[in-house]
């Protein structure tokens, strides 16, 4: 009994690491740019596909893909921000949501046309193959790696945004862009970089996921809904909130899979409804 429970909780923690990575990017983009980036799931998918393409067409392996795929997809994000998204900053954030939703459909459509729906398999890198018997479960080394990397990247991002001067600029840019510009800071460039970074985080999560899940055009469409719920529960725009909630909800999901598996697909949304009833701004959000 305890064995099975600890197994499920560990699996939950692993899933939570993915949620944390993805919701981090989403929270950064929302918190700093006030854009509801619905394309996050599609960008995650593009990150996974970029890794697969690097291996298949250029023979470049996982380790370089961790760097190159987010850079490439981040560049796509920069182009999107420069050419389309920035025109919507003054408007209601519903417009940003609609634009990114449209982009999602286009991206998924293109990949579907090129690669079909069953997708492609991406191998686990040689150095991380195999697993360790923990007594209560067989822990694949790669999954452990996912947890470690996710915690590291999340902490680093949180530190940069909340504790450094660069982060202070970014936050100031959201509060009062004109004043910041008056101090000589190139605010539009800062916004572009922020969006590009958020997108790169999504792609990074995609590369991390590629060896575990099948790389398919629709792999992000299921996940983005859950990740949105995570961000809402954590408090829209709260970066620490997104990270903590991501890991926490992974655990809640793991627990549900142990107690009543059929509810595992909805439990996150039940939690979301409860949290919104009690704290409409989310667990870590500030009331405005």
């Amino acid at each position: 009994m305890i064995q099975a429970l600890s197994g499920q909780l560990l699996v939950g923690l692993i899933n939570g690491s993915f949620y944390a990575l993805l919701s981090l990017g989403l929270a950064i983009i929302f918190g700093l740019l006030n854009v509801v980036n619905f394309a996050h799931g599609a960008l995650y998918m593009m990150g996974a596909f970029a890794a697969w393409m690097l291996t298949n067409y250029l023979g470049i392996g996982y380790w370089w893909a961790l760097l190159l795929a987010p850079a490439a997809v981040g560049l796509v994000g920069v182009v999107v921000e420069r050419t389309m998204l920035r025109r919507l900053y003054g408007l209601d954030n519903l417009y940003g949501l609609l634009l990114t939703f449209g982009l999602t459909l286009i991206a998924e459509g293109i990949f579907h046309h090129l690669y079909g729906n069953s997708g492609n398999s991406y191998p686990v890198p040689e150095q991380l193959q195999g697993g360790v018997d923990l007594g209560f479960m067989f822990m694949p080394i790669y999954r452990g790696w996912v947890v470690v990397v996710s915690v590291f990247v999340c902490t680093l991002s949180w530190f940069v945004i909340e504790q450094t001067k660069l982060g202070a600029y970014l936050r100031a840019g959201t509060e009062n862009p004109r004043l910041l510009q008056a101090f000589g800071v190139n605010v539009p460039l800062m916004f572009t970089i922020t969006y590009g970074f958020g997108v790169a985080l999504a792609a990074f999560a995609g590369v991390m996921a590629a060896p575990v899940y099948q790389v398919t055009p629709l792999m992000g469409s299921n996940l983005v809904i859950v990740v949105f719920a995570v961000v809402v529960i954590g408090g829209m725009g709260s970066i620490a909130g997104a990270i903590v909630t991501g890991l926490g909800l992974g655990l809640v999901e793991g627990l549900t899979k142990f107690l009543y598996p059929q509810a595992s697909a909805v439990v996150i949304f039940v939690v979301m409804a409860l949290v919104l009833l009690i704290r409409p701004a989310g667990l870590f959000g500030r009331e405005r």
Binding site: H112, G116, N117, M137, R143, V212, P261
Partner: protein, 406 residues
Amino acid sequence: MLRIARTLVVALAAAVAAGAAAQEKVSDGVVKIGVLTDMTGFYSDLAGPGSALAVRMAVADFGGKVLGKPIEVVAADHQNKADIASNTARKWFDEEKVDAVVDLVNSGTALAVMPVAAEKKRVTILSGPATTAITGEKCTPYNVHYTYNNWALANGTGREVVKNGGDSWFFITADYVFGKSLEADTAKVVADSGGKVLGHALHPQNSTDFSSYLLQAQSSGAKVIGMANAGADTINTIKQAKEFGITPKQTLAGLLVFISDVHSLGLDAAKNLYLTTAFYWDLNDATRAWSKKFQSHPDNKKRAMPTMVQAGLYSATTQYLKAIQAAGTDAADAVIAKMKATPVDDFFGKGTIGPDGLFRHEMFLVQVKTPQESKYPWDYYKIVKKISAADAFPSVQAQACPLVKK
């Protein structure tokens, strides 16, 4: 002058009458086949554009004409939604002169379209869907179920795997009608063959992470893990089973796995998997010849080998056209009667279509090769056993279909 005019009128009348007579033979002067399938969703690789291609190939190979009238093919996406499927079929029948709707992958869409077709006296030929109810309690007089069904899958894989020593089972099951009925069918076969079922884990359709279900399967200690799910769910189950060290200690049994799934998984992840199929391209010269034609067809952009759904559809379309030829009309009653009366014998299969509409033919239990065993592209399966038509499908008398006289 008057005489000439009179002759003209008579000639005209004769021409109209002749036209009407021809129209009686082939309604609206054209035989139109509508391929209604999942073009963009989870089943689009195993059916989808490949299904439409198979039907077009069958029409082209038949000569593009039957009873001197042209054959047309139209295709549409039902998006796996029963209402879209039945609305499209209704529009096709009422406005676009479609005589037969084919494929209907996804049992929900098939069960929605069959009654519409029966009401309008048009033909349905199903290749993709699996539920046994199609030729059971939900059967209709104008329907043929061609390629496979849940009963055949459960019996093929279940019985043989138990016979080969896999006598304890744990199911990982998609939590909806298809998955549950496939599990129930298989569990019955396992029990009847002397095996036992140790438990199951239900997962929501379209899950991405199966690790928690796999852990349950692992701790159950069952020798065989039966996957009562399909498409992307099966692919991710297999992939993650390998990751968690489940295979090769426990054996995976795929209850519904297509060659497109194996192709996208790769042999390293799928190796040693047991599954039941109605068709494999590399069976004999005839299957190879047709499959290579399919693979190299300019419309087959991905250069994929045909799945059993697509191969079945080619064969079924050919049978349908032959029946029109033999019956001398495209009227549904006569064509279906002809199809049920004519034994099938082609590269796809040999057998007969019963009064319930089910085509009973040989099925194959196969095992996926290891990367070392695979010698050339798409060399994926070892044939473990040929399952005769009588063993592969339920007998006519066992069907709950009201069309079967008891």
